[in-house]
């Protein structure tokens, strides 16, 4: 499949338009209601636009406390939903062979696991808390959203979890890895936010950085994930943004052939790649998220 001809799936989610930061300084910027709503309407999300227009605002600028409440409320719920699906366990099992491969190739020493687009860091906090990969693994979470990174840092401190969280862009984070030979890059639910038009570039950064391995987990599109996702969002999510964005996320996820095409275009033959959609007659929630895995040759 030619990634350049791939249909655009870049329908915006509500949260996509509620966080703005200065690209130069990284500081948070105010969000103008009209701008955010217009972006959602242009993306075909009229309901999301109406929700934004219902948020508290002053002088056409959305109230920051209200936005903070939305971001934290949604991500706390999302973390709990991930726990129901045992996503941290799924990811930990999926990257264990990659960590073992790094140890075998590079010898003893710390292995770094970096989670890009980590949100409030549930996955790396769980892995660090459980020490699931052994004592010599260091966990780092990176996210563009400083509010979520602050929450992740506080949560790690409160529960004495050894994980570090930093604010950063996923593309820049890949490009500036300190120990690429000993680093496994992971993500959960990030790829459909990167967007089909930037996925190849995203994967090319992996190759340029010399990363040892990567595993990006995203929803395995299909009947059961769509149905199950809808049901779970109905019974488990109370925030209107969670329900809106959650179902949209399920529809934005790319299938394995598309992901492989973008990854191959980005990393060339320098990485062995693996990604398979799981066709199942019966629901298999433990495989609702599946990774695209790359290991440097």
């Amino acid at each position: 499949m030619n990634p350049a001809a791939a249909p655009s799936l870049d329908r915006l989610e509500i949260l996509d338009v509620l966080w703005r930061r200065d690209p130069t300084t990284g500081t948070r910027e105010p969000v103008h209601t009209a701008d955010a709503a217009a972006r959602l309407r242009a993306s075909g999300q009229a309901r999301g636009a109406r929700f934004i227009e219902s948020l508290p605002q002053t002088g056409g600028v959305l109230d920051q406390d209200a936005l903070d409440r939305v971001f934290l409320g949604v991500h706390y719920e999302l973390a709990r939903l991930s726990e129901y699906l045992q996503v941290p366990q799924r990811m930990a099992a999926g990257i264990a062979p990659l960590i073992a491969a790094v140890r075998e190739r590079e010898g003893p020493g710390p292995v770094h696991v970096i989670d890009v687009g980590c949100g409030i860091g549930l996955d790396v906090r769980w892995m660090a808390s459980a020490k699931i990969h052994g004592p010599d693994v260091e966990y780092v979470g990176v996210d563009l959203n400083g509010l979520l990174i602050e929450a992740a840092t506080r949560l790690a401190a409160i529960e004495l979890v050894s994980a570090t969280f930093v604010v950063g862009d996923a593309f820049e984070a890949v490009a500036t890895i300190a120990h690429p030979d000993r680093t496994v890059l992971i993500s959960q639910g990030l790829l459909h936010h990167v967007g089909a038009d930037r996925l190849t570039e995203f994967f090319s950064r992996h190759h340029e950085s010399g990363l040892a391995a990567f595993a990006h987990f995203d929803v395995n599109p299909g009947f059961w994930s769509t149905l199950g996702g809808w049901v779970l969002h109905r019974v488990r999510m109370r925030e209107p943004v969670s329900r809106h964005d959650g179902n949209l996320s399920l529809r934005r996820a790319l299938d394995a052939p598309a992901l492989l095409a973008h990854a191959r275009a980005g990393v060339g033959d320098f990485y062995s790649l693996e990604c398979a959609d799981v066709a199942a007659w019966l629901p298999a929630p433990h495989r609702a998220l599946r990774p695209i895995v790359g290991v440097r040759r």
């Binding site: 719920e77 973390a79 045992q86 409030i120 769980w126 808390s129 949560l155 529960e159 004495l160 488990r236």
Partner: protein
């Protein structure tokens, strides 16, 4: 009195189980923590209290209407049995699922959490409706059906009321201090 106890006890257990589950659901996903045990215990306790508070008006009306008449008591006993026959197995399945989830592998736990427990939560209103229909079929009594319907509809609000009273907003995380909680191992 024995008849009354036989009718009330299983219904009280159903209300308690439903309230606990509703309270745990209300408390879930409000603080981002890995360790939910304290929050779930608190949520369950609040949910149980709310559930019993919500069904109390129907119980009081039933007691007043019955006024100690044996015939009316028999009607309500039949109605209570009908509710227990419909809702009891569902509650037992949910309880079994909770137990399995505690000890199973993460793959099985993912299935139990989402397909079994999530599925039961999704069909809860339908189960409640079937239970009320069962009361009518068992009693053919308008008052009994109305009272059980009222009690059932009230109990279904336990999650919404508990969430609104205590979990309307995401938790404010405490500031980082030198004295921290003990770490917990997570499966």
């Amino acid at each position: 009195m024995m008849t009354l106890a036989l009718m009330v006890t299983p219904l009280a257990l159903l209300v308690a189980f439903h309230g606990a589950a509703a309270g745990i659901r209300a408390a879930a996903g409000r603080d981002g923590r890995l360790d939910h045990r304290r929050a779930e215990r608190m949520g369950a306790a609040r949910g149980i209290g709310v559930a019993f508070a919500l069904v109390t008006p129907a119980v009081i009306v039933g007691a007043v209407v019955t006024n100690g008449e044996r015939e009316r008591l028999d009607v309500y006993q039949q109605g209570g049995l009908a509710v227990a026959v419909v809702a009891g197995p569902v509650a037992a399945t949910a309880a079994l699922a909770f137990g399995v989830a505690l000890v199973a592998s993460w793959q099985v736990r993912a299935f139990v959490n989402t397909v079994v427990i999530g599925g039961l939560e999704f069909v809860r209103p339908a189960v409640a409706a079937v239970a009320v229909v069962a009361v009518w079929l068992a009693t053919r009594d308008v008052m009994a059906t109305a009272l059980f319907g009222f009690a059932t509809a009230s109990a279904l609000q336990a999650h919404r009321v508990t969430a609104r009273l205590w979990y309307a907003s995401p938790a404010t995380l405490p500031p980082i201090t030198t004295s921290q909680e003990e770490p917990h191992a997570h499966r």
